[in-house]
Symmetry: none
Subunit: 210 residues, 4 copies
Amino acid sequence: MPKVSQTYLDSRRAEILDAALECFSREGFHRTTMQDIVEQSGLSPGAIYNYFASKEEIIEAIADERHAREQQMIVARSSEGALAALVQIGREFLNSLQDPAERKRRRVTLQLWAEALRNPRVLRTVRRGISGPRKALGDLVAHAQKRGEIPMALDPDAIARVMIAVFQGLILQLAWDTETQVEPYIKAAEALFSGLPLSKRGARQTLRKR
Amino acid sequence: MPKVSQTYLDSRRAEILDAALECFSREGFHRTTMQDIVEQSGLSPGAIYNYFASKEEIIEAIADERHAREQQMIVARSSEGALAALVQIGREFLNSLQDPAERKRRRVTLQLWAEALRNPRVLRTVRRGISGPRKALGDLVAHAQKRGEIPMALDPDAIARVMIAVFQGLILQLAWDTETQVEPYIKAAEALFSGLPLSKRGARQTLRKR
Amino acid sequence: MPKVSQTYLDSRRAEILDAALECFSREGFHRTTMQDIVEQSGLSPGAIYNYFASKEEIIEAIADERHAREQQMIVARSSEGALAALVQIGREFLNSLQDPAERKRRRVTLQLWAEALRNPRVLRTVRRGISGPRKALGDLVAHAQKRGEIPMALDPDAIARVMIAVFQGLILQLAWDTETQVEPYIKAAEALFSGLPLSKRGARQTLRKR
Amino acid sequence: MPKVSQTYLDSRRAEILDAALECFSREGFHRTTMQDIVEQSGLSPGAIYNYFASKEEIIEAIADERHAREQQMIVARSSEGALAALVQIGREFLNSLQDPAERKRRRVTLQLWAEALRNPRVLRTVRRGISGPRKALGDLVAHAQKRGEIPMALDPDAIARVMIAVFQGLILQLAWDTETQVEPYIKAAEALFSGLPLSKRGARQTLRKR
DNA sequence: GATGAATGAGGATTCATTCAT
DNA sequence: AATGAATGAATCCTCATTCAT
């Protein structure tokens, strides 16, 4: 029986990750020192090392956290059609922009993308974060092809990857320019995918009316 | 070795940047030490500091170099239509994949994207690197709209940004997985933009035949 | 070694300053490396930087310490007359020569005098170190003038400065030649100031008898 | 027969020393880099090393130059009496203050005093710079003693050293505070030494009338 | 579990000096 | 003699991590 409750431990861990996220967002992984995290969290170095074995491990934990969140957001929630799912995701994405905390997180996401090139564990997390949506979207496309809505000549997986790219690009563009207008971007993306045609007419109508 | 020619100086500078690119590609900006660049270049620390005031400045020079290259690659070369330009760019991109040096460079590009969040000069370079193609593509779309090929309701700039996103996403996906198949991706992207319809039929045909 | 007492911290700080003084005395500020201080103190570089932000700050702390010590030594302790005070100071100075540690310190004092030309904080400290005695001595002279012991035509502050110069010159001469005889120098200085006449006869007698 | 005239060589050497003096005055010996001297002199590093084997040697040459100048200034020019000589020196000193170049030089002098603690050659030069005037002044005092003008009990050399101290202190005080008033200081010093009495009445009169 | 002073290898940068031209 | 690019040891300082309390 531990001296303190698991709840306590979990909340301490979360505090550290919050502090780290804040620092990473402001200064990047490499310019952030453990001392920065110490100050941001109000804990001591020793305390932090009780929860994480290294700075690297904190970065990896942040990656896991991000991955879990995005997974949750992107995972297709609709079997109605690919476009409907995309539109849904787009909407959520749009809403998340209201949250300043989410802006910070997106900056960290971009850093994780670069970090993935160096850190195999981060790479694995990033890849896993994509493979889910990629598969889901690919399946939707394949379904649409069976229904004759999309030419069989196209690779469903490739289309899924292009769809994901549209989101990745938006994240990049937003990170570099917070003034970036999201609404027209989403509309343009929608127009593209409706023209494929990737979806039933219904889905398109729904979005248009919004 | 006094009073050397400007050509000599330029080639030394280029050597240093090459060495730095190699190191950055392998280890990332922050894990690369000046000593690494020293060893890779075969020069001495002092020599390198004769050409660049700091490691930061090397990173910025790399950004400028990348920017110039990509500018040159992406800038629309065709007035035939947006799709033709895109296809052309896609082809070049495809070809560049044969060059292992280009793979290295793309890894560095991704790092520059993250670096832009911290370094205002890199940010400016990255933004400039996008603004050119963005404007060029936007103009093409606007033209197509005047000719009635694309609905006026869509924002030309937004469409341009989506197009750019498709390339950015491909760069990301390739960086994380060198096995990534480029050909199907390009085809899928082409299908999307032909459905818009963004281009004349002719352009689409060209691509199909390749 | 967490949560240590303030006393502990103070004594560590003092240890570092002692080590630095030793090094500075031997090699001068600029030839002394942090590594020298590390070795002399038996601490690690990091430990030292926990107490001082830079080598410069150590020099400034040494200046403060010197200033405090000299302040304490020179500040007039006698209201009997300027000469008595001077004699007193001269005696203490003489005694301090017995202490080999004091020899070291005086060498550092000379370096601080030069450093003051470059480092505004050191300059301020050096100036403050003079302004106290200068004012005190000036007041004594002014008093003597009121009592008619010194011609009103002379500037009390100027006389104070000359007195101080006599000590400064002695410090210089001692630094360059440890064989320098202090006793005759003090006697000669005393003769000068008694002739002014700066003091009551009594004070002069006191000195003579020693 | 050399390729260039000795005059040419000498003037180059002087240029370098002038440039070095300028730099040393501004930044001190140790903060001045050879590159600073290169820029100040308009020569190249290689050229400078043709004239001086090391930075150290430049410092030593500066010391020699200073020494020669001061020697020339201080060396007793009068056999009329110690005071007359001192007054003369004081006057010259006073005049030299008008020359801004001289202010620079005095700052360097102070640095040489500190440097003497580390560099035996500089020490020797500094000592030689003092020993001349010291001996000259000591002789004057001894003469006055023989004539019964000064008590035999005082050490002539000690009095000479006190006199020198009065100048040294003035140099220090001027270096730290360019506002320092020289005139009252000189007057006060004169009053001291006239009271000794160190000189004939005449000398004192001369000064008073000025 | 927490604390925070200490560790010390490592890193960016400097700069006196050299030497091929 | 002059040039100035190159050298590379030396230096200041950082910071992830440890561990005695």
